[in-house]
Amino acid sequence: MSFQAQQIHRAFGGTQVLEGVSLTVEPGEFVALLGPSGSGKTTLLNIIAGLSIADAGRLVFDGEDITDLPAGKRHFGMVFQNYALFKHMTVAQNISFGLRMLPRSTRPSRREIADRTRAYLEMIELPDLADRYPAQLSGGQKQRVAMARALAIRPRLLLMDEPFSALDAQVRQSLRGSVRALQKQVGVGTVMVTHDRAEALDLADKIAVMDHGRIVQFDTPENLRANPATDSVRALLA
């Protein structure tokens, strides 16, 4: 169940934002896209999610070409930078949204949806907050609800856009561990966008260092430190 992006190109207006980016995510692997702002990492994530369209290149999941598959049919879970929780829905309604929107033929029964929602609430250790609204949650709680909502559709791939950037430093540290633990528990391949090298080093199995629309180096944290391909990678990891 590996995912591949092959030679992805994307331009906005006259500016080339992605210039032939290729990336492989193995099953259960945690990949971080690390780079400064403007390096194209969020654009790449949006293309993988299907929220943006590549000018050229292919996306392949498990041998299937999903380049032209609409976002909703990809079955990828997405955690947005500001979580994008549904304001007017409770925590439980947020988490169950993906299940409730399934066509009748494949939708689980009401009871099963409720059971699964409760299971995810317990997984994120917020079993008592089912009936709260997003505005009544702390930043860390919102982040975990966003995570549960993405995982509840049993995604084939989990995508996270700067999932810790809206949190203060202390919460950020403690949530890192729980995000990694959740991801391991579910065993879903994950792509996380970040500009924070400590975050990438701490969480990722592999890091794709991005700069000016290209992946400069794609390797494990250990190898990146041992053999940085360029001075910029060396500087980034120093």
Partner: protein
């Protein structure tokens, strides 16, 4: 001192300019007794005018709700050629005098206008009937829903819509579960304003209605007609009905305000 003066000024002005005329309407309507009042508002012509006014408003409302949401959506979510022009164009009905609007419609859709003349051989007449009244009312009220919905759409929801899309919701589900709840209060205001204006419009409707008694007279036109006929009781009795309709929409708006504020506070 200054405070008292300001309050007195505000209250005095409103009393003279708003409250006194309102009371006068009801006072004059009942001046000849409740029996005369009841007789006046149950006149067949007046009843026909009420019916026409309500029917026209009921046709105008859904059309403008659909158009208003569609236009607001397009302007809020997409960048396209002519977007700014659309924004300005939609304000035109606010700026143009309604009577001018009525004349413009007559020029185009009347029997001697290009569209009216083209349709005439088929026996289709657009002006001087319900169609004409609906058309100009649409023109006059088309900015309301869009103006109320657009700001709400601009500040909220784009990310939520993307999230819903990624979770597998289709276009209709996104609209039903994400967009509609987000815009509901703006939409409700737009509906109230559109209804009030559609029922109260005089200038534009007077040009295209054709003024056939008991057939193409809306309530505002009927009121003027009765008044010009020296039927003051009839005119003021009909006016109380129109005023009551307007007050109902105002009360609805007030309730929405209160309920909306509470809802927001509780979330």
């Amino acid at each position: 001192m200054a405070r008292r003066f300001l309050i007195a000024l505000a209250v005095g002005f409103l009393a003279l300019m708003v409250l006194a005329p309102l009371i006068a309407i009801f006072h004059r309507a009942f001046a000849d007794g409740a029996g005369m009042y009841l007789a006046a508002i149950s006149e067949p012509e007046t009843l026909a005018a009420m019916r026409l006014t309500v029917i026209a408003a009921l046709v105008v409302l859904p059309v403008n709700v659909i158009f208003g949401i569609a236009a607001a959506w397009a302007i809020a979510r997409y960048r396209f050629f002519g977007r700014r022009a659309l924004l300005i164009l939609i304000e035109v009905p606010f700026a143009v005098s309604p009577i001018v609007a009525g004349l413009c419609f007559l020029l185009i859709y009347g029997a001697y206008g290009p569209v009216g003349a083209a349709l005439e051989p088929y026996g289709i007449q657009l002006m001087f009937n319900l169609t004409g009244i609906v058309l100009v009312s649409l023109f006059v009220t088309c900015p309301f829903v869009m103006r109320e919905v657009l700001p709400v759409l601009m500040v909220s929801g784009a990310e939520e819509e993307r999230a819903a899309l990624g979770l597998g919701a289709n276009g209709w589900q996104i609209f039903r579960h994400i967009v509609l709840p987000n815009i509901s209060w703006g939409l409700a205001y737009g509906v109230v304003l559109t209804t009030a204006r559609a029922m109260g419009e005089f200038g534009a409707v007077s040009v295209v209605s054709g003024a056939i008694r008991g057939e193409t007279m809306t309530l505002p036109l009927q009121i003027e007609l009765l008044y010009n006929d020296y039927n003051a009781t009839g005119a003021f009795a009909a006016a109380t009905v129109l005023t009551a309709l307007a007050l109902v929409t105002l009360v609805l708006r007030g309730l929405l305000d209160r309920f909306g504020a509470q809802r927001k506070a509780s979330i």
